[in-house]
Amino acid sequence: MAAICSLFIINKSGGLIFYKDYGSAGRMDTNDSLRVASLWHSMHAISQQLSPTVGCSGIELLEADTFDLHCFQSLTGTKFFVVCEPGALHMEALLKVIYELYTDYVLKNPFYEMEMPIRCELFDLNLSQAVQKDRVALLGR
């Protein structure tokens, strides 16, 4: 596994629709993950308003001493973010790959209901391949 601790997907109203943790570090229960999601949703919105220039699209990277948080927001307002080891490489590219997996295995699935939690076997399967360490390393090329 790459240096990723967890992955969140938040819908445009701030609801957590997907959460997965990788490894023991930073594991949290359902309530905590929902809280983190809605907190991040608000902070992201605040960051847009704090910006001294117009057209700011919100926080993309949060660096702390023990972790990095990379966030990608699509123009529709769907947010994808990963929490990873400090300095982990290729996270923007990984988020793009995850976004594409979401458009394929979630949105093209007739049994997925928009804005609802994601329960799609093929998404899980392809996601677990995409976050493999050697796969992520390939994203750098």
Partner: protein, 194 residues
């Protein structure tokens, strides 16, 4: 409704040369359309068996038109009259036109004389679809089963056609098998032809 009917003052479709079928569109366009077909039909049914039947019916009308189109374009208005001929027509020609490839395999059932199976490791229509656990063995390949039934029926080979997930050893994902069970009259005729 599509591609049939008399010449009308409104329409010039019959004057137009038949397309060669080489135009392409994105897989995404098809996948979203198919997904919506399934979603719409879900709103029209009370249970999974009905959903299966409606998808099969939708496929049937595609199959009937595919047969018309291909007999005209690829076979100079001739069609297969023998069982193996029509099966290989479905497995190769039809599959290639609709799904861009020949089907992975065509086999005869080992237990029943009247059964044949076309199998695909990953059916195009199922590419992005995960079946929820509460839907059991439901397979959106019912649409493709309907297409096959439409082709066979139109060619004079009535059959019951169904789609099934079949686990494959060493693979995470099951393949889809389209099971074809021919009507008795088909086998009798075939035996007569020798």
């Amino acid at each position: 409704m599509i591609g049939v009917g008399k010449i009308k003052q409104y329409s010039n479709v019959l004057d137009k040369p038949l397309s060669k079928g080489k135009q392409e569109v994105s897989l995404s366009a098809f996948s979203f359309l198919f997904s919506e077909l399934v979603q719409y039909n879900q709103t029209q049914v009370d249970n999974i068996a009905e959903l299966e039947r409606r998808l099969e019916d939708a496929g049937y009308s595609v199959g009937a038109r595919v047969l018309e189109l291909l007999c005209h374009r690829e076979k100079g208005n001739r069609r297969e009259t023998r069982l193996l001929g029509i099966l290989s027509f479905v497995h190769s020609t039809v599959w290639k036109v609709l799904f861009g490839k020949v089907a992975d395999s065509l086999e005869k059932g080992t237990e029943h004389e009247d059964e044949y199976m076309i199998s695909e490791k990953e059916l195009l229509v199922n590419r992005f679809i995960s079946i929820p656990k509460d839907m059991g063995t439901f397979n959106c390949g019912a649409f493709v089963a309907g297409i096959v039934r439409g082709v066979l029926d139109g060619a004079g080979f009535p059959a019951v056609v169904t789609a099934h997930f079949v686990p494959v050893e060493g693979q995470q994902r099951p393949r889809t098998t389209i099971l074809i069970k021919f009507a008795e009259e088909v086998l009798r005729r075939e035996a007569r032809l020798g």
